[in-house]
């Protein structure tokens, strides 16, 4: 005979539970609040005290800085959303890294088209002075915390176009760069390795 299923905690009915269960015409005017939200709130009210208790016990044991920050870092480094844009040659290898052979999405890296959804800018190609201020605008639109990877020789230091009149000799003249990936262009493996290095940096992030 199998053990009985674990008992779920009894649902606490909201105070006005009766009013919305009436059949027929719903009281549209006097309706106090959206009831389903209230039910969800009740469930959360059960969960949150337990979680708070466990968390405060952990904090009391280890100190605040050792709990909160690692939790945020753990969540952040496993869901890096790079900005979906292609500057030059490296963008093709960037796209290859999301194809079936390399499948970067298994690391939680999903390119997003809007900078407001991103926390990682991969500068995959040559940056020219004409695009420089647009790159800075995109960087400023990304919410904190944010990181920048200079992918390839052009983004790192100008690459073969270093002497050209229109090329920024390295994107670190414009925005702060966390990880540099060498190669012209870097292979998709190198790009994934660069992102894993960035994850190491995020793991040790303090402030």
């Amino acid at each position: 005979m199998s053990a009985p299923p674990p008992q779920l905690p009894a649902k606490v009915a909201p105070a006005n539970a009766e009013s919305y269960r009436l059949e027929g015409d719903l009281p549209m005017v006097d309706h106090p609040a959206v009831p389903f939200v209230e039910i969800e709130t009740v469930r959360a009210q059960e969960f949150i005290p337990a979680a708070k208790e466990a968390l405060s016990a952990l904090i009391a044991e280890q100190g605040q800085s050792k709990v909160i920050r690692p939790t945020f870092n753990w969540a952040g480094r496993n869901s890096l959303f790079p900005l979906h844009w292609g500057l030059a040659c490296c963008a093709i290898e960037f796209a290859s890294a999301f194809s079936a052979r390399w499948d970067s999405e298994r690391f939680g890296i999903v390119p997003r088209s809007s900078p407001q959804q991103c926390d990682l800018m991969i500068v995959n190609g040559t940056v020219t002075w004409k695009v420089a201020h647009k790159l800075i605008t995109l960087y400023e639109q990304m919410p904190e915390p944010k990181w920048v990877i200079a992918m390839g020789n052009c983004a790192t230091g100008g690459g073969p176009f270093r002497t050209a009149y229109s090329v920024v000799p390295g994107v670190d003249k414009l925005v702060p760069v966390d990880v540099y990936i060498a190669g012209c262009p870097p292979r998709p493996e190198a790009m994934i390795d660069g992102i894993l290095r960035l994850e190491d940096l995020i793991r040790e992030r303090k402030e």
Binding site: W129, R162, T163, A164, P169, D172, P176, L201, I202
Partner: protein
């Protein structure tokens, strides 16, 4: 068609507006024409010989003078033709080819900003590749490239 045939075919139409036709590898020849008769030459070449497709316009800075060249393709002859003319180094300008070949539009914009050759009566002569307000013409020989100066870069603390 060889360059001699080309010269013979064009001589009655254009007369002294052609300065000469010389052989050029893989094309029907290089046609040198007088810059002030540019539109007549383009029209004659397009309508009489069937060079309907203009593939390229470019400029060369020879320091003493500038050269502007056009490459056209004729389906009827199955050949390319190179047209070129010399312009003075001081304020070089030539009539725009856009009335004859609309595809010259962007090529002439590019030639104007890189080699500083003005195309008169061009419908839309503004910067194409370089940012607006860029005052230099990079493909001139007087424009020198150099190593970028080293800037102090402060590493971001993570």
């Amino acid at each position: 068609m060889q360059s001699e045939d080309l010269a013979k075919a064009l001589a009655p139409v254009l007369g002294d507006r052609i300065l000469g036709v010389e052989p050029f590898a893989k094309t029907a020849g290089r046609l040198r024409f007088r810059a002030d008769a540019a539109l007549d030459v383009f029209r004659a070449v397009k309508e009489d010989l069937g060079f309907h497709h203009l593939s390229m316009v470019g400029g060369i800075d020879w320091v003493s003078h500038r050269e502007v060249f056009y490459v056209a393709w004729s389906d009827r002859l199955g050949q390319y033709l190179l047209l070129s003319t010399d312009l003075p180094a001081d304020a070089p300008h030539i009539e725009s080819a856009t009335p004859v070949w609309p595809s010259a539009n962007w090529h002439e914009r590019e030639t104007w900003e890189l080699v500083d050759i003005t195309f008169d009566h061009h419908p839309d002569l503004r910067h194409l590749l370089l940012p607006d307000g860029y005052v230099f013409h990079p493909l001139l020989r007087s424009f020198k490239l150099h190593e970028p100066e080293e800037l102090e870069v402060k590493k971001r603390s993570v």
